[in-house]
Assembly symmetry: C2
Homo-oligomer: 369 residues x 2
């Protein structure tokens, strides 16, 4: 294999496919990036047996072939090379020359045979979505996926398309994050994407309004086509939780509040909470004020913020982290917090539209029934 | 104790005196900040038995007194408080109210008696120095102090004032960093300041040209007065290494090179060096080129950069980290690298002036004598 190409482009692509490369593995090839050169095209692949990312770029080919190079080392070399054309050449013993300007490296690569094959994809349902929208839907739900491997199905997000609306849902047993948006998809389908895949995917997704992502869903795998990159991942298989039944209708108390102001109050009140004491925060309505308070071994704190309270006055308690996570991901200024008493889920929705819905389970206080 | 004051100022001072507060200590008072309020002045102190920092600010005093508060918790509270006046009040059982706007914390403090006394200072020699200059002299030498506690004296920098010139010197057995500057001091004195003290001191020192630091040196302690802060530290006592005898006179080879270009070449060459292989970098002159090369289990690399070479052609090897450290701290564009053969120290000096001098010991190659 022998080719030359633009250093900056190669550097960028190697660092993006590296999102899918294990930094430490017992199989050396899995720490590697696969370069395949053919017909003046170079295909660059990273794969960790769960997620695979590839991209093909144009190069000046002098000899076709392939090589697997340690991704970390190769990436470090590309980052430090003088910024111009780069020449890469591997001999039959996999010794690889990387040369640019007055710098030349000789490093030992591995044969393509040692690299695992990516899964093949057949019989897909395909649809398209603006990249910024997909990114936003993932970001507003990813925080609520479960990190508990005992219920593996909840370590992913449910994508549920029905009647032209896509719902992305994450549930971890203590809270629900739901994001919905009209999409241009005829068929009704639903699938569960691992959280790790979504986290890496958001790094490839652009914020520009005109970039389109293509999504191909098959029986066991999903394939995203994003900005020239192809990302393939296994799906999580099984029944997802029936999240719909957890969402309460109506409310007996509705709080209309500025998201940022309430978040600041909760953050202040959280100062005396730590991993050991895990004290809940109490919220009490008092006319149109919210009184937040907390008591722990460290001390006690009272805070107050303004809001509009409709319906019954209420006294409820919650886990500070879950509530702050939700408030940080609303992406809007004003929210409704709907409640049906101190033991029902706290529902957070936008004042305008219905693009998201977050549920947080309350904490039962000792003197409540 | 009861007083109110400007939140922003208090926040800033507490975070600065916290540089001298242990984050974890078996003595709870040492994790605390001491507040002493008297005559409408609040003195704020942090002390870890090695370094003490204090500053006094004006407050609206309602009741004199003192309290020790956990520095981390107090600082977290100040950072999150709404930005305005803050009221702090401690009762006789050390329960302390911290209040601003609609937020109030109650936390338990400790008695002043539990706080250790700072060392008292007598019979000092005092002199002044612009803060930016002191900061610069510390920064250009601190990197070369020893981290080896077996020779405690070398874990500090020597300050040596004679004939109106101050030398700051660090030595770790493999290299020397020396910075000198004319100062307005009559007496000849020399003292050794712990590296930790210098590292924290640079965080208090300003870059502004007109700020003056006052330095008070006593038998066992040093006291810096900087921007209203007083920082006291023990000195390291004992004989410092005779660094002067290590500095070679003259040269048989002089390289005149751009600091940044050589540094980049060495950084590229360093990619195949790691903690396990610790391979040295070889430098060879070839006319007016420098050929840098390195070989390790990972691979091999050749690099070249332009320079002017005067005297004998040379082939020498060095530890990449020591050389890069020196090149990063020259603060100038062009340097001379003077050598007297492959086994003598490599001397790095500025092309203009004599404000610094760095020595790096070469590595003996297997086939050299």
């Amino acid at each position: 294999m022998k080719f030359s190409c633009d250093l900056k482009l190669l550097n960028e692509v190697v660092s993006n496919v590296s999102l899918a490369i294990s930094s430490k593995s017992t199989i050396p090839a899995l720490e590697g990036v696969l370069l395949q050169c053919n017909n003046s095209e170079l295909t660059i692949t990273g794969y960790n047996l769960e997620i695979g990312i590839t991209k093909t770029i144009q190069v000046n080919q002098q000899e076709e072939g392939s090589i697997v190079l340690n991704a970390r080392l190769f990436s470090d070399i590309l980052k430090k090379m003088p910024n111009q054309e780069i020449l890469i050449a591997s001999d039959e013993r996999f010794m690889t020359l990387i040369q640019g300007a007055d710098t030349e490296f000789h490093i030992l690569g591995m044969a393509k045979d040692e690299y695992p094959d990516l899964p093949s994809i057949e019989d897909c349902i395909s649809f398209e979505l603006p990249e910024y929208l997909l990114k936003n839907m993932i970001n507003q739900t990813l925080f609520a996926i479960s990190v508990n491997e005992q219920t593996p199905i909840l370590t992913g997000s449910l994508f549920d398309i029905s009647n032209g609306t896509m719902h992305v849902v994450s549930v971890d047993g203590y809270r629900v994050a739901l994001r919905r948006e009209k999409v241009n998809v005829d068929k009704d389908i639903s699938f569960i994407v691992p959280g790790k895949t979504l986290a890496e995917l958001t790094k490839l997704l652009s914020d520009q309004q005109d970039q389109i992502a293509k999504i191909n869903v098959c029986e066991k795998h999903i394939l995203f086509e994003v900005d020239g990159y192809t990302m393939i991942s296994r799906l999580l298989l099984g029944e997802y939780l029936d999240y719909k039944s957890a969402i309460p209708d109506g409310f007996s108390t509705r709080i209309h509040v500025e998201d940022a102001i309430l978040a600041q109050s909760i953050e202040r009140t959280s100062i005396i909470i730590n991993d050991r004491n895990k004290s809940p925060i109490k919220l009490e309505t008092e006319g149109n004020s919210l009184i937040l308070s907390c008591e722990s071994a460290i001390g006690k704190v009272n805070d107050r913020c303004e809001a509009q309270v409709e319906g019954n006055q209420i006294r409820i308690a919650f886990n500070n982290k879950y509530m702050i996570d939700a408030l940080r991901h609303t992406d809007c200024d004003e929210i409704y917090i709907d409640m049906n008493g101190p033991l029902s889920p706290i529902k957070i929705i936008p004042v305008e539209g219905d693009q998201f819905l977050f549920l947080v389970l309350p904490v039962r206080l000792k003197n409540e029934n």
